[in-house]
Symmetry: C2
Subunit: 505 residues, 2 copies
């Protein structure tokens, strides 16, 4: 019963169940309304919905002239309204959108589902040959295949102005992504302005005033994301990837030695000093209050042991602890203490796969992020075999570019394609498209991310059976033009044009 009319509409990501007929209704911008259903448990006091109603009304009719919007006359064949009905009840957690005379009804278990349904509704609206807004009689049942659908942006290798982050949150919502994994600090710079340790950004950012995220900026990102049903999970990666932390926090990093004397350079966080843990305790206490999400990403990837190996105090500590020369034990020693510190803030944590690989004892609710492309299936098997939830980002490092339509490669990934039981497969809760920051900043980030990340969006939302690249191409071409029309400079897939080209530069 899938009757796709691809010439007219272009749903992305494709809903789980979709049925439409050739019967079309007109939408008059002057009279059409998005309203709370009478039975809904949400009303005008729900700012998330009120904001979303306005946002989607703008997307659908925002480009129309004033006089077109003021036509109040209603015809028989008009769709008068969209009723949004929050049921606050989730049996199978399937949300439903029914477009029929005289009203369309969107029935969702909660506001987050309603946001996705509003996006779907807006995607159903199309212009006919006379420029009139149409929508076909349609029935949709929908739910995401995976719960965690993330985008990683890196604001350390290049500072990303707030404007860029917000625009990408908008694009995420258009693609039903629901997690912004904010890799906010790293070796090159520390733009996060900490209230507890202001020197971290004062001395660790590219510039202490212009290249930082103030507490107000961070609040704004979180609120802007919340309005769009997007969680913000900040990553504060330690003990490696911390060069910029050392500028503003004395004695935090390990002094590297050249022979018998300090070389003046520094390595990972110094794991043998109590002061390091005192610092982390205070720092993550702040982070746990600033970021409301239940999870914090603690990193733990790519720890370089060479500096630790050079340092006599570290070597002495290794002997004392009986670690021999296995520095991954020292790494685990650090991570273990850090995890306990963060667990005490009542937050859950995510970590990169090395933390699991090194045998660190993890809380049951830890999410392990699999990022190494080599032996990815084996890793998924191991992580889920050990009973941990996991998300996959290995096949979706979008910072790697190549000539041509690489979105197809991202699209063809099947996340559950690894040996394991049904119970293991259920532990894969989603994935992330990662755009590391070595080669992107405000000038090129958005077109490089979209619509390539849209391929990942559909893989994480739609049914496993949705794998037809030819069909995806046709819909994605239109979806990217829709993003362009909504102000997102999403790059072209191939030769062609949009009715409305990008108006920016």
């Amino acid at each position: 019963p899938f009757v796709l009319q691809l010439d007219e509409i272009s749903l992305w990501p494709l809903p789980q169940k979709f049925q439409s007929s050739a019967v079309a209704f007109k939408l008059s911008p002057g009279s059409f309304q998005i309203v709370h259903a009478k039975q809904s448990s949400a009303g005008p006091s729900c700012s998330i919905l009120v904001n979303a109603f306005r946002r989607y009304f703008e997307y659908m009719f925002g480009d129309l002239k004033k006089h077109e919007k003021s036509r109040k006359k209603v015809y028989d064949s008009d769709l008068a309204e969209l009723q949004v009905w929050i049921t606050s009840f989730c049996s199978l957690c399937v949300d439903e959108l029914s477009v029929d005379e005289p009203s369309a009804v969107l029935k969702a278990a909660n506001v987050w589902g309603a946001l996705r349904g509003l996006e779907t509704f807006s995607q159903l609206v199309y212009r006919d040959d006379y420029g009139a807004n149409n929508i076909n009689k349609t029935d949709i049942s929908d739910f995401p295949r995976f719960a965690h659908r993330g985008i990683l942006l890196d604001s350390s290798r290049h500072f990303l102005p707030l404007k860029v982050i917000l625009a990408n949150l908008e694009a995420m919502a258009m693609n039903k992504f629901n997690v912004f994994h904010w890799h906010i600090v790293d070796d090159p710079s520390f733009p996060y302005m900490s209230r507890t340790f202001p020197d971290l950004s004062q001395k660790g950012a590219y510039h202490p005033f212009t290249h930082v995220y103030t507490p107000s900026d961070v609040k704004m990102v979180i609120e802007f994301a919340r309005m769009r049903g997007i969680r913000v999970i900040p990553e504060f990666d330690t003990p490696g990837h911390t060069q910029s932390w050392g500028n503003g926090q004395l004695n935090l990093l390990t002094p590297c030695y050249s022979g018998s004397s300090p070389s003046g350079t520094f390595g990972p966080v110094n794991p043998i000093l109590n002061s390091s843990y005192d610092f982390m305790t205070q720092f993550f206490k702040e982070i746990s209050t600033v970021f409301p999400d239940a999870y914090i990403h603690l990193g733990g990837d790519e720890v370089d042991f060479s500096c630790w190996k050079s340092n006599p105090d570290i070597k002495k500590f290794m002997v004392q602890q009986g670690f021999g020369t296995d520095y991954s034990k020292l790494e685990s020693f650090y991570i273990q203490r850090l995890l306990d510190i963060v667990a005490a803030t009542k937050k859950g944590y995510m970590v990169w796969q090395e933390v699991f690989d090194n045998g660190v004892k993890l809380k049951d609710d830890t999410v392990v992020e699999v990022w190494i492309g080599n032996k990815m299936e084996e890793e998924l098997q191991n992580v889920t075999g050990a009973g941990f939830t996991t998300i996959l980002s290995a096949p979706w490092y979008l910072d790697y570019i190549s000539y041509g339509q690489d979105w197809q490669r991202y699209y063809k990934v099947e996340p559950l394609n690894f040996p394991g039981t049904d119970a293991q497969k259920k532990l894969v809760i989603g994935g992330e498209a990662c755009l590391w920051g070595e080669y992107v900043d405000a000038t090129n980030l958005t077109p490089r991310l979209w619509p390539r990340a849209s391929a990942v969006a559909e893989r994480l939302w739609s049914d496993k059976s949705v794998t037809d690249v030819g069909n995806a191409y046709k819909r994605l071409v239109q979806h990217r033009c829709r993003m362009v029309k909504r102000g997102i400079p999403a790059e072209p897939l191939f030769v062609g044009h949009c009715r409305q080209e990008y108006m920016g530069l």
Copy 2:
């Protein structure tokens, strides 16, 4: 005697001769002036200079607050003015810029040299720690190594809004490019609005109103380019790459056959009909008046013979002409007549290398563009050996992207690195960076082109000996930030930041 102070200034492309001292002068935006030198043969009636004075004043001081510009007080150590002296005399054609008290003097043989010198002067100005504008005592002698320094943009595979073209002309001037090779039409669309044959765009553009270049648009591009010392060479590529022409011009293209009947598809321009040549005569008569440059690019690349081979009339013609089954002879037959048609308009022409390779008789002043990467050196040897001028684009197809700093690959090319006499080397008059349009449009073209094309700019301008990639990196990092500051979204080379990040989206 090259004393580069890379922390402060970052000239790009590097001038031929450069000497600076630590002595710095201040520039007060409130009193500093760019003026015509008393001896100059140009004055206030020279709109190219008047426009350029304003443009470079804006680049240097445009971001300053009003009160900073209004400070009129002049100090002893101030640089009062830049005198621009057009000598209208070119012995060695070396332009000179001398920055010293109380005035800087830019001595150029003509306005085009003055434009390059103004760019150089603006690149010498830097902000000190207090935000004051400084310029060091400097002497520069400069001239371009190659005369033809081009950028090819393709407005057929994707329509490029005027705004995008103009912005890239601005970026070209910042990099001392002087030729805009406008690959304006091709198979997918015909956006050029012809006065003689309006149906070509009416039926061949992506959209007859929104996706076309009107005569006024074309004029604007030419004038905008002229103000910046940039020639506009339009390319109307035939007989291949002409699918879009066929929509608006009946019987122009060859009907392809499937067995004994027409298949409904069309091939290259039909070379056996007089009507084809009548059309070309009228068409290029218009083009020769619309575009003032002395050259037109006539294409001639990648002609697919399969359609010609299928057509019985063509086959009959081949026999009549005694071409046997060598369809490159038919191609040459067409091109030869086309070249004669264009020659009659008094224009010179450029062609892609195939035209030369196929042995077409070319006018002495033809420019052959070498674009095929394979056996490039051999081709340069052959073309120049036959006495033709040539430009090189083969190593600079910037539409091919890859992860990392591919600008270094473009930078390392030595255009004269082929076997040949000095006389042959002299026939290489330059090169072009080509950004074909399959994967770029308004959303991503500008950051994809810059600063990658800047690598080509320096190769074509600076001395052959300027090959130090490390030094180039340091200057190019600053040059790209300068472009960003001037409103061009030039992408980053690698990890880092600009004092002023890109403010657009």
